[in-house]
């Protein structure tokens, strides 16, 4: 399913609806509002395999991003000022520049800088992890600050060490309070992962574009892609609701 540069470009342009389809290879594209999935039916499994790629990006990036975000949030409340400066500067950079630019820099500059031709999956995971850490660190910091300071004092008064207190007492309460916000962040991450299609990773989005460009049928494959994203987000929302209910059992 590899593409020549010419019809790949056409595919991109048309996928975003900039220009009407040009039947470069002489195939006649049907017009009008009729939906015809029969022509792309054999390609649907190819599109659906993108679910695993997209899920892989999202889960790995969320796991690394939230871990790094937690560490950054602890830097942000540290008494040691250079750690705070670092974390604040880090956040400002990743929030202050477009995600697609960050991805392009990591994907295209890594070979130039260190001579390592970075695979698209790695570049994507690194970018999304670093980026979502910046956003989630603010959320987590807010969650930590919202935990009653009496909790800290109770732990301290029994001689509990700071890292243990953070891990066992403060963070579990903080995460419970910010779970909805983190779910939001994960959903944004899942959808933003479609940006890896711009560096050639075969995720859901790019697979839709490939099929579209191959067959000169745009609406149907992209509609399928949209539907799959929607179902993934809905499933994810449902699972997180369930998790939230379980965590509320101590209330």
């Amino acid at each position: 399913m590899e593409l020549s540069p010419v019809n790949w470009t056409a595919g991109i342009i048309n996928a975003f609806g900039v220009e009407p389809a040009l039947p470069l290879l002489g195939q006649a594209a049907p017009t009008g509002f009729s939906l015809d999935f029969s022509q792309i039916a054999p390609n649907i499994p190819f599109i659906l395999q993108g679910v695993w790629v997209t899920l892989g990006f999202t889960l790995v990036s969320a796991a690394i991003g939230f871990t790094w975000g937690t560490i950054l949030s602890i830097f942000k409340i540290s008494k040691f000022k250079p750690l705070r400066w670092f974390a604040d500067f880090y956040t400002s950079v990743f929030r202050g520049t477009p995600l697609i630019l960050q991805l392009a820099i990591i994907y295209f500059s890594t070979p130039q800088l260190i001579g390592y031709s970075i695979p698209a999956f790695q570049a994507g995971v690194i970018t999304f992890s670093l980026n979502s850490a910046a956003y989630s660190s603010e959320t987590i910091r807010g969650g930590i600050m919202a935990v009653d300071k009496g909790q800290r004092e109770a732990a301290m008064s029994m001689g509990v060490a700071y890292p243990l207190m953070m891990w066992d007492i403060i963070l579990p309460q903080a995460f419970k309070n910010i779970l909805p916000a983190l779910v939001n962040e994960s959903i944004a991450l899942l959808k933003d992962s479609s940006l890896v299609s711009t560096v050639g990773a075969l995720d859901l989005m790019r697979r839709g574009q490939i099929v579209a460009a191959e067959k000169f049928i745009y609406f149907e494959p992209l509609l399928i892609v949209g539907l799959v994203y929607y179902i993934m987000v809905m499933t994810f929302t449902m699972l997180s609701r369930r998790l939230e209910r379980r965590m509320r059992k101590s209330d």
Partner: protein
């Protein structure tokens, strides 16, 4: 057991404690009373360094805990504290609240920690609540669990910071009863309280703080019937 020398604490320009020098002996029960803002909670919180003193020294069992090389975590294991707002860990059951610090800080074996926790819950009359979360308890029950949680570390000193101030009136007695029973044991207790009747009945000594100074330090029978300082007279007139 506890000795302070010229203990002072300022918050910015506000001098909350001014050169407090006193001693609490082993097994003694001391009630610290005084008008609000007199520094009594701050004094108590200095004793386990939840507040860092601005000046002065604090000796626990002869050890200067304000010295720079002291690991305060070790000292705190030996000093239990009960707070006005209980501060139970809401995401843990009652039993987990009681066993957490013994398991994680003192590294007591699990079976032993649980056994001790159940004994303590029995002592405060809440054995049947071991598996519930704190949100299911009334204020009085929460405070009894909080007392048991502090005792689970087997401290030699217990600090009480207005333990009944956040309770509904009908729940005050159950907490005071637990504290009375505790006072009969050999544990050293320092209690910041507004419960004058309780202080009179249970304390061996009353420390009356006013404006960051010890205005009076006397046995309860002397303090309540024959106070020396004018400030204490005024205070007692209002509260008794």
């Amino acid at each position: 057991m506890i000795r302070t020398e010229f203990l002072s604490k300022s918050f910015g320009k506000l001098n909350v404690l001014k050169d407090i020098s006193t001693e609490i002996k082993k097994g003694e029960v001391v009630a610290i009373i005084g008008p609000s803002g007199c520094g009594k909670s701050t004094f108590l919180r200095c004793l386990n360094l939840l507040e860092t003193p601005t000046r002065g020294r604090i000796y626990i069992d002869g050890q200067d805990i304000t010295a720079p090389n002291v690991d305060i975590k070790d000292v705190r294991q030996n000093i239990g504290m009960v707070f006005q707002h209980f501060n139970l860990f809401p995401h843990m059951t009652v039993l987990e609240n009681l066993t957490y610090a013994p398991l994680k800080v003192k590294k007591v074996p699990k079976a032993q920690a649980q056994q001790r926790a159940m004994d303590l819950l029995h002592r405060v009359g809440l054995e049947e609540k071991a598996e519930v979360y704190p949100s299911r308890l009334s204020g009085g029950q929460k405070q009894r669990v909080a007392i048991a949680r502090s005792l689970a570390m087997e401290p030699q000193v217990m600090l009480f910071d207005e333990p009944t101030s956040a309770l509904d009136p009908e729940m005050v007695k159950e907490v005071l009863d637990v504290m009375k029973a505790l006072a009969q044991t050999q544990i050293t207790m320092a209690i910041v309280t507004h419960e004058m009747g309780f202080a009179r009945e249970v304390a061996d000594r009353i420390i009356f703080l006013d404006n960051g100074n010890i205005a009076e330090d006397a046995p309860p029978e002397v303090f309540f019937s024959n106070p020396k300082s004018e400030r204490a007279c005024q205070f007692l007139e209002k509260v008794l």
